[in-house]
């Protein structure tokens, strides 16, 4: 069956939105997860990904015209089954043998079982509506209802964990949202907020992805424009040639150049903190301030068991105990994080890429690089935030740096202060932006 592409609701108040660019042509073959189109509301611009793989048939190709939320703007399906004109969903009664075969091909293998034939996900109408609005494939949602029926809460969990299709929080209305498409080649990135002035660029840690910043953003006030980047081999970014630190930094620099970001503020977490420190001192871009959360690069130890266990985990049962190492209090771990992480890993490429990076920069429970010397030459406002209960990188690594670098230690906090101390981190972020001007 063809998959309907609807204009999704990306904002609670949104009644209409406009497509401002298609990234695939009518009739073209698209892959699930590939960037499909950009939409713009009066609050934000948003990238929408293909909900399925197949041939794209655009039924409403108007650019910049307001379309009601939920309207069908296209279909994805087999070449011969997709309606070419604005049409109703393909009725099941039409499914001749050929169409069924095409549908079977489009379904993940595990959903076809001997006794049931084609298993479509059992989902409540409410869950289906939510999934449709947010462009989520129900087959990827784990149902917790009776007989594993997918209920609305199950979809909401996925929405919370899915980048790009979740609503951004109150985008700054200062500048008209401009179309910022991802050019081919660079890293995956999303403008989490629009606005005027030098943007804050967010770089996540090892094994994470750009959507891990979303909880912090919900706690943040006016921080101006925000660009979040998926590091190579993380989130939706492809792996780069090199897996060492300079290669990671180079890929970020390239991406910033593509986005025409020459002057920026940096916020980096863990491995992303080391990347940010290098970026700030290499001179390819003008970095105006540096905020590092439990950064790597300041000492030799890192929790090698965590790195290995995290990469090895193939189920929630084996992943959750490692994710607990990230936080001081288990309750601070976002619900559904394990499920979302495992979903991303399905094709195995992410884990392979991350294993390569780990083997290169974090071999044998050791940080094979140091950024300590770089702080000696740093002439911009810089703050380091550390949770004293960090079980991945010991907080004592942050001691002994030049006195010009501020150190904020949070007791009762683990490796992810952006989760456990989000309002305090948000406050330090704003203070640093003000200090840097």
């Amino acid at each position: 069956m063809a998959t309907e592409i609807i204009l999704p609701r990306v904002d609670m108040d949104m009644a209409t939105g406009k497509v401002i660019a298609w990234h695939a042509e009518d009739g073209a073959r698209v892959e699930k997860g590939q960037l499909l189109f950009d939409i713009e509301t009066d609050k934000a611009a948003m990238e929408i990904e293909a909900p399925a793989s197949g041939v794209l048939r655009i039924v409403d190709a108007r650019i910049g015209v307001d379309v009601p939320v939920g309207n069908t703007i296209g279909w994805i399906g087999a070449a011969d089954e997709v309606p070419s004109a604005p049409a109703k969903p393909v009725p099941a009664a039409n499914s001749d043998a050929g169409l069924r075969a095409a549908a079977l091909q489009m379904l993940p293998a595990e959903r076809v079982t001997a006794e049931d034939g084609v298993k479509t996900p059992r989902a409540t109408p409410c869950a289906r509506r939510l999934a449709k609005q947010h462009g989520i494939d129900l087959a990827t949602v784990i149902g917790t209802g009776p007989r594993r029926r997918v209920q609305s809460d199950d979809v909401r969990k996925v929405i919370e964990q899915t980048p790009a299709t979740t609503p951004t929080t109150a985008a700054a209305p200062t500048a008209p949202a401009t179309q910022r498409a991802v050019a081919p080649g660079g890293l995956h990135r999303v403008w989490l907020r629009q606005g005027n002035g030098a943007p804050s660029v967010l770089i996540h840690g090892f094994g994470a992805e750009l959507s891990s910043w979303r909880p912090l953003l919900t706690a943040s006030g006016d921080v101006g424009p925000v660009l979040a980047i998926d590091l190579p081999g993380h989130g939706k970014s492809p792996m780069t040639e090199g897996a060492d630190l300079p290669a990671l930094v180079g890929a970020v620099e390239e991406t910033l150049a593509e986005e025409n970001v020459a002057s920026l503020h940096l916020l980096g977490h863990s491995l992303g903190g080391a990347v940010a420190t290098l970026l700030a001192t290499r001179g390819a871009v003008e970095v105006r301030s540096l905020l590092l959360l439990d950064p790597a690069g300041l000492g030799p130890e890192i929790n090698g068991a965590f790195i290995a266990g995290f990469l090895r985990a193939e189920s929630e049962a084996s992943l959750v105990p490692w994710l607990r190492e990230l936080v001081s209090k288990e309750a601070n771990l976002p619900q559904g994080l394990a499920a979302a992480t495992l979903r991303q890993r399905r094709d195995g490429r992410l884990v392979a890429a991350q294993a390569r990076i780990a083997a290169t920069v974090l071999p044998d429970g050791t940080q094979a690089f140091s950024t300590r010397a770089l702080f000696e030459t740093l002439s911009i406002p810089a703050k380091i935030v550390f949770g004293t209960d960090d079980r991945i990188i010991p907080a004592r690594h942050a001691l002994g740096l030049p006195g010009t670098v501020a150190l904020h230690l949070f007791p009762g906090t683990g490796h992810t202060p952006q989760l456990e101390r989000r309002s305090e981190v948000a406050r330090l972020w704003v203070e640093l932006l003000r200090a840097a001007g």
Binding site: T124, P125, C126, R128, R129, T144, G145, P146, Q151
Partner: protein, 315 residues
């Protein structure tokens, strides 16, 4: 009824034993002494004959209020209600109307056995041309009765026998409660309970107990079966995503079936997060044995159990 009779000379009462005896459930009381036997008329034991007189009087410009001793006896008067009262206005091209009110003491709980305990309101709600209402509070009983008397069409009022003793605030003087509007008796986020008549009170009692378990039920008092306020249910379900229908009439082919189907056909379908649940009377003639009689209609624990299962994802 006394207010309607004082305000309008055309209003008069008919029924078996409604005069000196005051009615099988003492609803007419001493009205015969206030208004005389011309306006509070005892009829012979012939529901068909009495109903025929009432329909004829309404056609002739009077405003009769006809009382059945037990709603069960409406079966004897079906010809006059269904084929005459409901149809005449339409078959004569709107030249005449039938401003008739009929009152039906209904429901179980009095130990009156199978022929005196039924809830047959859905029968009449199936007939276009009639209006069918089920007030659940003293306030609505008065306001909807006065609205029914003022209505140009035949209005059938089903009154639950166990609610006759209910006390509640009732303003003095004339006021009306519109026919065809449901009322939300309790606001909640987790589940919508649509109930009729006495089941409204059972649903409210269940909701109070469920609140202790952090389950907040919204209780919608349907009040009117025809016309039915589907929009009120749609609005509530869009907000709670779950629906339970509670009614005393036999479950099969009853009010709950109509409500379920209407919701499944409506825009609220896309908001449902669980199957719709019906709690209705058992598919059996109502037993005389008081324990079996209770077991044959939904009770507060039944509602609690059904809602709990629905909200806790057991169904």
């Amino acid at each position: 009824m006394a207010i309607a009779m004082e305000e309008d000379d055309r209003v008069f009462l008919m029924g078996e034993d409604i005069g000196v005896y005051g009615g099988a459930f003492q609803v007419t009381g001493d009205l015969v002494h206030r208004f005389g036997e011309d306006r509070v008329m005892d009829t012979p034991i012939s529901e068909l004959g009495g109903a025929g007189v009432a329909v004829g009087a309404a056609l002739a410009g009077m405003r009769p209020i006809f009382e059945f001793q037990f709603s069960d006896f409406m079966t004897l008067a079906m010809e006059q209600i269904v084929n005459q009262a409901a149809k005449i206005h339409y078959m004569l091209g709107g030249a005449v109307s039938v401003p008739l009110v009929m009152r039906f003491p209904a429901g179980s709980g009095t130990g009156a056995a199978a022929q005196h305990s039924q809830s047959l309101e859905a029968w009449l709600a199936h007939v276009p041309g009639l209006k069918v209402i089920q007030p659940s509070t003293p306030y609505d009983a008065k306001g909807m009765l006065l609205a029914a008397v003022a209505d140009p069409d035949p209005v059938m009022i089903f009154e639950h026998k166990l609610l006759y003793k209910m006390k509640g605030p009732v303003p003095e003087g004339h006021y009306t409660v519109p026919i065809g509007k449901a009322e939300t008796r309790r606001v909640g986020r987790d589940v919508t309970i649509v109930a009729t008549s006495i089941m409204v009170h059972k649903a409210l009692a269940a909701a109070e107990q469920l609140a202790a378990e952090d389950i907040e039920a919204e209780v919608v008092d349907l009040r009117s079966l025809r016309p039915i306020d589907t929009q009120a249910i749609i609005d509530s379900v869009k907000h709670t995503s779950r629906l339970v229908c509670v009614y005393e009439g036999v479950k099969t082919l009853g009010i709950g079936a109509e409500i379920s189907a209407s919701i499944a056909e409506s825009e609220a379908f896309d908001y449902l997060d669980a199957p719709i649940v019906r709690l209705g009377g058992a598919d059996c003639p109502l037993p005389y044995n008081p324990e079996l009689e209770k077991a044959a209609v939904p009770q507060v624990p039944d509602i609690i159990e059904a809602v709990r299962a629905l909200v806790r994802r057991k169904v």
